[in-house]
């Protein structure tokens, strides 16, 4: 029985190690995945936090400089993207728009006004998103058919 319990100690150590690795990695690498309105609602608390923001490219000024690979655009809430009532109540007047700056990445395929995008990056002080990556949400085969 003593030997048996020694093996439980060994197995336990591995389990603890796996658990700790998972815990530490989640603390260090997690990103909040939010819509534009959700970000706007708690803008103050999100500064510096790694974010993935889902939104729609506004039809206003889009600038793309192929030499410096700099992409600038505004993004707003995707209409009806979220059927959460709490979020809807927040939006009473002017819908929030975030300016996005992404430097050093090629302009994604299908990037155009009114396309849905997911932006990865940080929110800086002036409500601008400095993005490390801009992805156009692709029509994946894994997406279920939306309704009929």
């Amino acid at each position: 029985m003593r030997i048996r319990s020694r093996f439980f100690v060994g197995a336990g150590l591995i389990a603890v190690a796996v658990g700790y690795l998972i815990y530490a990695a989640i603390e260090n690498t997690s990103e909040y995945y939010m819509t534009v309105n959700e970000v706007a609602a708690r803008q103050a608390s999100l500064e510096g936090q790694a974010l993935r923001i889902a939104g729609r490219v506004s039809s206003g000024a889009i600038s793309w400089d192929p030499v410096t690979l700099t992409l600038k655009f505004g993004m707003y809430q995707i209409p009806n993207a979220d059927d959460d009532d709490a979020v809807k109540k927040v939006v009473v007047s002017a819908p929030p728009v975030f300016n996005v700056i992404c430097v050093g990445q090629p302009k994604p395929d299908m990037f155009a006004p009114n396309k849905d995008v997911i932006v990865e990056g940080h929110l800086d002080g002036e409500g601008t998103v400095s993005a490390t990556q801009v992805m156009t949400s692709c029509p994946s085969k894994y997406k279920p058919k939306q309704g009929q």
């Binding site: 690795l21 990695a25 690498t29 995945y33 993935r52 090629p106 302009k107």
Partner: protein, 670 residues
């Protein structure tokens, strides 16, 4: 044809239901004729599902757009090969493929066991039929492949361009073959639990199925990675996407299972663990199908819209509860007479390897469902990306590689320290020397140093094993070295095939470490005639050539690659635009060498300035990932190859009129 397909699926469902009842009734009452009829029902069900699949293929090949499925996933201009593969381009077709594979495997099992395993085979077939009933139920009532369009469109909306690629033609069938074939060992394990016949019969009967499943899971993962590498154009091959994780988790658990059953066969230990592992592996294949098909990972909200999700989740939970319940009920009968004796034993090495594999699977599972859990529990969706998976799995992978070196050389039961030193001295010296050399050439990342040293250590242990075997044969049987090597492998194919698989794994690991730590990326916008440098290469953008066909439009860049003024290659990365789905795609140009891959993406074309943006990756050693995959394939084929001794044993068993055929003899050289 659509009506025929729909009818065939309905009949298949009835046959599957009948087969469940007949198998169970026949086994309980010992009614041979009923069991025979249950077997025939399985075969008839397979024929019906095949008819349904053929009907859908006919629809796809004849561009019958009155079928919603054909209109959604095909078009008149789609090349014929992709019309065939679009059978698994969408949800309904994928599930049909699942069901076709499942019923085919059930038919083979019914045939293999027509005179064998009379006590558990009927229950195993009943379990397979239950799984078939679930999928046939989905195909008949929830996601129907033969639904018709209200108005027949003139043209279909085409297969997703990303799937119009030969790797995508073979990746899903390979992966699904791997997924579905885990059902066979699972079904026999469940049958053992139901009947209480808990000896090794279920393991022996399904050993080949388990290796078969592992083989196709390996292929499926490799093909998927290769597809991502060639098609997605981000320079990598693995993004820890939920879909990839779904394919990876069953592979991990099946790997653990294939190792731990060896302990049960040799030492009669880990019985509960093996039953649990195969249950988990099967659960994860269903879970994988579930998350790729229900959309639950993209959002909790889309989950309920997909129709399939709630049913699938219910089935998953039912399977998990019933199987776990049965296992717990049988635990008292599964006590093992043997015990672990020492940490310094092969049993211990295998046990810890199992824990690490399951630990990695758990970490991947947790990272995959974390966004859903956090959304459900905290109301905020928190995602974890590749950094999470790399941080957790990186260190665990080192532990696994270490054990891969230890396991084969260490003795069963217990090993003395003196013995240990004599066995491991040479490999340890090889490992440490390799680490020192790397440090000498100023590679200082601790992970890389540790990883490569361990790889060298494992390579050393495998070389020692082959060396000992060959030397023994040369002395005992007086064979020449090459002949001794061939005989060594062919006479002990399970053991040495396993080592060859290990060689493949460490080759792939070298590829993964090299490509993860030393990849160089250059992004540059240039005009025709301009050049830029990537590592030792000069890339000169010559021209951009447009092309238009009815199916797609493309722009191909011609890039001249030189090194120190000498021409190396002409590369042709392209941008494609598929007309029917109005979707772009990229065609990556790759020049692969064992040292590094030059990977050129035409990332953007700016009409205003006339500039073209290139994204170029110089990825070291990624070649070895694919080479390692091939090596694993070779090793598995050797392992599965019918052994002369085994065949003799089977012939003997049959001549003695045994009901149950003994498994092949234990690996020699102990």
């Amino acid at each position: 044809m659509p009506n025929l397909g729909q009818l065939a699926l309905a009949i298949a469902l009835i046959l599957a239901l009948y087969s469940i009842a007949a198998n169970i009734y026949g086994a309980r009452r010992n009614a041979t004729d009923v069991i025979v009829s249950a077997r025939h029902a399985i075969w008839a069900m397979t024929a019906m599902v095949a008819i349904a699949a053929v009907s859908l293929w006919v629809g796809l090949l004849t561009s019958d757009f009155s079928l919603e499925y054909v209109a959604s996933y095909s078009s008149t201009t789609l090349p014929t090969i992709y019309k065939i593969t679009s059978l698994w381009g969408g949800q309904q077709g994928s599930l049909l493929l699942w069901t076709l594979l499942l019923s085919t495997f059930a038919s083979i099992v019914a045939f293999q066991n027509r005179r064998r395993n009379p006590e558990i085979a009927p229950y195993a077939l009943a379990v397979m039929a239950i799984v078939a009933v679930f999928f046939l139920g989905m195909l008949n009532f929830v996601t129907r492949p033969f639904d018709l369009m209200a108005v027949r469109p003139v043209e279909g909306s085409d297969l997703n361009p990303l799937l119009q690629n030969y790797w995508m033609a073979i990746h899903p069938p390979s992966l699904y073959t791997g997924y579905v074939s885990t059902t066979v060992p699972f079904a026999f394990a469940a049958a053992a639990l139901i009947t209480g016949k808990l000896d090794e019969t279920w393991i022996r009967t399904t050993r080949r199925w388990a290796i078969f499943s592992w083989f196709f899971l390996t292929l499926g993962n490799m093909f998927g990675a290769r597809w991502a590498y060639e098609v997605l154009g981000w320079g990598g091959y693995w993004a820890w996407d939920p879909v990839e994780n779904a394919a990876f988790m069953p592979w991990l658990v099946m790997t653990a299972y294939l190792h731990s059953v060896m302990i049960q066969e040799r030492k009669d230990m880990l019985k509960v663990w093996n039953l649990a592992l195969i249950g988990l592996a099967f659960f994860l294949t269903l879970f994988g199908t579930f998350i790729t098909r229900s959309g639950v990972i993209s959002s909790v909200h889309s989950f309920t819209q997909s129709g399939l999700g709630p049913y699938f989740l219910t089935f998953l939970i039912l399977i998990a509860l019933v199987y776990t319940g049965a296992l717990l009920y049988r635990v008292p009968d599964l006590r093992s007479p043997a015990e672990f004796e020492s940490y310094l034993s092969r049993e211990a090495a295998f046990l810890f390897n199992n824990l690490l594999l399951v630990g990695i699977a758990f970490a991947v599972f947790w990272g995959t469902i974390f966004p859903v859990l956090s959304e459900a529990v905290r109301g905020v969706k928190i995602t974890v990306g590749p950094p999470f998976f790399n941080r957790v799995n990186g260190p665990l992978a080192l532990g696994l590689v270490f054990l891969m070196g230890v396991g084969p050389l260490i003795a069963w039961r217990r090993m003395t320290v003196k013995n240990l030193a004599s066995h491991f001295a040479a490999p340890a010296i090889i490992g440490i020397t390799t680490g020192l050399i790397l440090f000498g050439v100023e590679i200082t990342q601790w992970y890389v140093l540790t990883a490569v040293s361990l790889v060298a250590f494992v390579a050393g242990t495998i070389a020692v094993e082959f060396g000992r075997g060959v030397t023994a044969r040369r002395h005992m049987v007086h064979e020449s070295t090459p002949r001794a090597l061939v005989n060594l492998v062919s006479k002990n194919n399970r053991r040495y095939g396993g080592y060859i698989i290990h060689v493949g794994v460490i080759m792939a690991f070298v590829g993964i470490v090299g490509s993860s730590f030393f990849r160089v990326e250059v992004k540059k916008s240039v005009k025709p005639g301009e050049s830029f440098a990537v590592g030792p290469y000069q890339l000169r953008f010559q021209s951009l050539n447009p092309l238009s066909t009815p199916h797609l439009e493309s722009a191909t860049a011609e890039v001249e690659v030189t090194r120190d003024g000498r021409p190396v290659a002409s590369m042709f990365p392209a941008k494609l635009f598929y007309k029917k789905p109005q979707q772009p795609a990229t065609h990556v140009a790759i020049r692969s060498t064992p040292l590094y891959d030059l990977y050129v993406v035409l990332a953007g074309i700016d009409d205003q300035s006339g500039m073209v943006t290139f994204q170029v990756f110089l990825t070291p050693l990624v070649f070895w990932l694919w080479a390692g995959g091939l090596m694993m394939v070779l090793g598995t084929v050797i392992t599965m190859w019918p052994n002369v001794r085994e065949r003799a044993a089977i012939a003997e068993a049959i001549s003695r009129g045994k009901e149950q055929i003994a498994a092949e003899p234990a690996p020699g050289g102990e």
